[in-house]
Amino acid sequence: MLAALLIVFREVFEAGLIVGIVMAVTAGVVGRGLWVAGGVAAGVLGACLVALFTSGLSSLFGGSGQEVFNAGILGFAVIMLTWHNVWMARHGRELAAELQAAGEAVVAGSKSLAALAIVVAIAVLREGSEVVLFLYGVAAAQGGASWGMVGGGFVGLILGSLVCLATYLGLITIPTRYLFGVTSTLIAFLAAGLAAQAIAFLQQANILTAYDGTVWDTSWILSESSYLGRALHTLIGYVDQPTGMQLIVYVATLVTIGVLMKIFSAPAVRQPRTA
């Protein structure tokens, strides 16, 4: 019962942080509830499929199928987050204006919502597949689901969802004029963290070996397996013993997003010159 509660809570907590951020980023956009709910539903379905085909998936790519799959979907999430930030840098201002005027806001907002819904689906799929595997394993060992397991899982789900709600409520207290800057920064760090996680999977599968030595060790200050460590791992990609390649890719992702946002940002409104 306690094991089920803890595992479910931990995974829902990690996915919930991302869902909470996405809810805050899209606050005020018409139809965002449906997109986010759709992302969660697709993620749950995906998690069941991944869990169902784990054995098959594992045996692909010479036993490294899981790693290649994880690195692939993480890479895809990074691209979606980057695209969202660049899109917002370009259209954020007009979107804000349209939101006030309603009208076309639904159409304009939905392009970026689709990218974020995919990110939500990937987050739920990754964390959810572990939950499904674990609960299925427990049920199989017991010869059926028990009330303890179902109850523990349910309490874990509720507690994890509260984290999601708290993230959302915390972020929306930020005044609107700062919200764009804060969420863009959060999303950039989220993307960099996911990119570094993808690198860890490629290193574990022996696909990537350059600069794979540990650069520093801060586990004595903050262990990655503590709850704060986990939260920071999900949010900004905190790793207590990062490898050189993880650091390179982390920085490269942040820089790439920053440069792309700058290149594609909406041109500043020109002041008419009076000579």
Binding site: A3, I7, T54, S55, S58, G62, G63, S64, Q66, E67, E130, L133, F134, Y136, G137, V138, A140, A141, A200, Q203, Q204, A205, N206, I207, L208, T209, A210, Y211, D212, G213, T214, S219, S223, E224, S225, V239, D240, Q241, T243, M245, I248, V249, V251, A252, V255, T256, G258, V259, K262
Partner: protein
């Protein structure tokens, strides 16, 4: 930092990644192989050994009738190993020390790697 500098850093990272992929086959050949099993929620052997500064390959066979997640926060890996199957995990060359790993779905299942 100017934008040009930023872009060249990004390109350097990409180049390094490609180099890494080219180099990976050469190194896999002299990796140290460690085989262990998970049975009745215990690692066998409970402690494994490896020389320092050599790449390591874990071959973990799960003999429980329940799925395991072979994981280590010291060594940075997590790998789902379904019941009755074998998982393969590569670990980069390590400094001497004692590193722990565990079954993330069953934390009492603990094991150690001693690197000398």
């Amino acid at each position: 930092m100017s934008e040009h500098k930023i872009i060249s850093v990004g390109l350097a990272a990409l180049f390094a990644a490609l180099l890494g992929m080219a180099a990976h086959d050469a190194r896999a050949d002299d990796a140290v192989s460690i085989s262990l099993t998970i049975k009745n929620h215990l690692f066998d052997p409970a402690e494994t050994h490896a020389p320092a500064n050599k790449q390591i390959v874990f071959h973990v066979k799960n003999l429980n009738d329940i799925v395991s997640e072979f994981e280590s926060s010291d060594l940075h890996f997590e790998k789902i190993v379904p019941a009755g199957s074998e998982g393969v995990v590569y670990v980069h060359p390590l400094k001497p020390g004692r590193y722990s790993y565990y079954d993330d779905f069953h934390h009492a299942t603990q094991g150690y790697l001693v690197v000398q």
